[in-house]
């Protein structure tokens, strides 16, 4: 029996404060497996049809899912408003591109880009995490822009706006057991593997002491501090885990595109990822995935639906509309977090 409390305005409606245990029914598990099976089988069937481009779109949405799950630690769990997340995606992608050109192997490259992103994130995090709310937002935004501008202006290292690799260089494809990953399908599966890992990590952390501590910090930092939660350290931990996800997504992006330029890492992308988390449901793994699929997929679906006709010009107008309508109709997110969900059910 979970503890209950009387709401001052609605004394007759019990409020569930939190659920003590995450119950996954066998039905839910089965449907998860079925969905995963579908995600594995369908693209393989699509491969040689005229709809093969959907694999690419799905992979791209997959990268957004990874990024959104990553930022969810910072924004969704710990409640830190990060508007410069794309910087770490960029750092991951550029590190991977640089090293892949040198011919380093995939696991080493990924490890190196994670390390690079972590070092920068640690340095930034230690400095700025004592800022609160929107001041944190503007500082992270500033850092995101600085990163993009450095990539664009540091011609000798990043080749500036012309991007990497330079003329005469190539990013070598990923080789696993002598087999090169080239096609969209390969990358789709690779991204899917990382997403499954990311979901498992997110779920485990969400229901751990760490996850509960983060939520406590998000809901009331002062109270969390008073209950003995090491607020500063845990904030930094959430901040760092996010960077790992961004770096992995960044290196997958660099390998897949085999070309990186600063124009992929603009401020708009940071906003988009924040929007995915908010429209999906802050702190809810299912919600965030759904948000990323909706907002990452909407431009692609609109492209498919409107492409070839004059309506293509309306694409981003409709995208704005999708954004507004989603938030207006589901202000708590498509799939609000369980804990938040509980406090919402005031009238039983």
């Amino acid at each position: 029996m979970p503890p209950t409390l009387k709401h001052p305005n609605y004394p007759n409606s019990p409020i569930t404060l939190f659920k003590t245990k995450h119950q996954a029914s066998w039905k839910s598990k089965l449907s998860s497996l079925a969905a995963l099976a579908a995600l594995i089988v369908i693209p393989a069937l699509l491969q040689s049809t005229p709809q093969a481009y959907l694999i690419r779109s799905a992979g791209l949405v997959g990268l957004y899912v990874l990024l959104a799950l990553g930022l969810n630690f910072t924004l969704g769990y710990a409640g830190l408003f990060d508007l410069g997340y794309i910087a770490f995606y960029a750092i991951g992608a550029y590190t991977a591109a640089k090293l892949a050109i040198l011919g380093w192997s995939f696991p080493v490259v990924v490890a190196a880009s994670i390390a690079a992103a972590l070092i920068v994130r640690l340095w930034v995090g230690v400095a700025i995490l004592r800022l609160r709310g929107d001041y944190l937002a503007i500082v992270t935004m500033g850092f995101g822009e600085i990163t993009r501008l450095v990539l664009n202006n540091w011609d000798s290292f990043t080749n500036g706006p012309k991007g990497l690799p330079r003329v005469g260089e190539t990013i070598m494809p990923i080789r696993i057991f002598g087999f090169s990953l080239i096609s969209n399908l390969h990358y789709y599966y690779l991204i899917l593997i990382f997403i499954v890992a990311a979901v498992i990590i997110s779920k485990r952390l969400e229901n751990s002491r760490l996850g509960r501590a983060w939520v406590a910090i998000r809901e009331d930092e002062m109270a969390a501090q008073l209950t003995g939660i090491p607020v500063a350290n845990l904030k930094l931990a959430a901040f760092m885990i996010s960077a790992v996800f961004a770096a992995v997504a960044g290196s997958l992006f660099a390998y897949w595109e085999r070309f990186v330029t600063p124009e992929s890492f603009v401020f708009w992308e940071s906003i988009l990822i924040v929007a995915m988390i908010v429209t999906g449901g802050m702190g809810s793994v299912h919600g965030v995935i759904l948000g990323a699929i909706l907002l990452g997929g909407a431009p692609q679906i609109l492209q498919i639906a409107l492409g070839g006709s004059e309506w293509i010009n309306y694409r981003y107008f409709f995208f704005g509309l999708v954004l507004v309508l989603t938030v207006l109709f589901r202000p708590q997110g498509l799939f609000p977090e369980k804990r938040r969900h509980a406090t919402l059910k005031i009238n039983g």
Binding site: S31, A38, P50, L54, L60, T261, Q303, G308, N313
Partner: protein, 377 residues
Amino acid sequence: MIQRIKLHLLVLAALIISACSQKPKSIRIAVAMPLTGDMGTEGQGVKRAVMLAIEEANASGEFSLPLEARALDDRADPKEAVSVANMIASDPSVIAVIGHYNSGCSIPASQVYARANIPMISPASTNPKLTSQQEEPSWTLPKCIFRVVPTDDVQGSFAAEFVRGKLKFNQVAVIHDKSPYGQGLAEQFHDSFIKNGGQVISFDGIAIGERDFRALLTRIKGAKPEGVYFGGLYMEASLIIKQARELGLKAPFFSGDGSKTDELIKVAGGAVEGSYFSITGIPVEHLPSAKPFLEKYNQKYPGSSVKPFDHFGYEATQIILTALKQTGADRAKLTEAIRSMRHEGVLGVTEFDQKGDTKNKIITMTQVKNGEFVIVN
């Protein structure tokens, strides 16, 4: 609810699989351009030019199947460009691509086209890597990437020789817009100007979309250059010229074909008088073969002036159409036909070299006199 969503996913999957492919009833040429977002203006211009060419071809009755332009939007975003490329590559009725606008989009997308062996002609991307990547040993795909726009090296050095040799300027200031196009042009100008014994007293980058250049120009004014060279597009060019004149910086202004538009004269007004613009080929206004293009364009799209890369888009379409007449709708044969083609059109004579770059490297210098571009060399 999770279950329901997962169920939807399954249904969606079933739908996608059952969606059968229909037989092509038309021949499609894809136009992959930024049609929305910050570069939307430029992309829309090229799209209009391509539409015009295709409409003419349909009216001529020389093609058995109706031609259709399939316009897709890459929003100047590299990853969207690759998605668009995938859509194009998996559409069997598309025989060729005109695109993309930004080099940052063209290069990753080109690999997708090459894998499907669809000929791709870029009307605007000037980064040398776009075509030279096909010469690299690791390139195992068909060589089907072309461009009708010359790379920056030709134009930049031509302008430098003009400023140094003909106008005998010793000191110039160089500005560029930090885009692959603008920076490439400016670097080439810089190197060539110094090689010819001149001095470049400053070399500065600005950002596309930026509007205030007064601080930079005040500094340049203080350095007293004899001329100012700008590598970039007309939007920033017009603002730079205007602000320079307002600040009392009167040195002549030079730029490339990305700046030479009617918008520039409209926005900068009298300030642009006497400025020089190098352009590739012969200016459209002066080319007899281009007159009909301009007339038709202005007639079909009253109120939208020709943008810098529109005639390249038109020419790219004409090249594809000519090749199509020779070979029929086959991607691989089309690539071969384009490679060996000698095409006379709005840009003069276009032929492609081994890499796929145009051999048409005629550059003309124009100057604005009484609000019009006049040839001066």
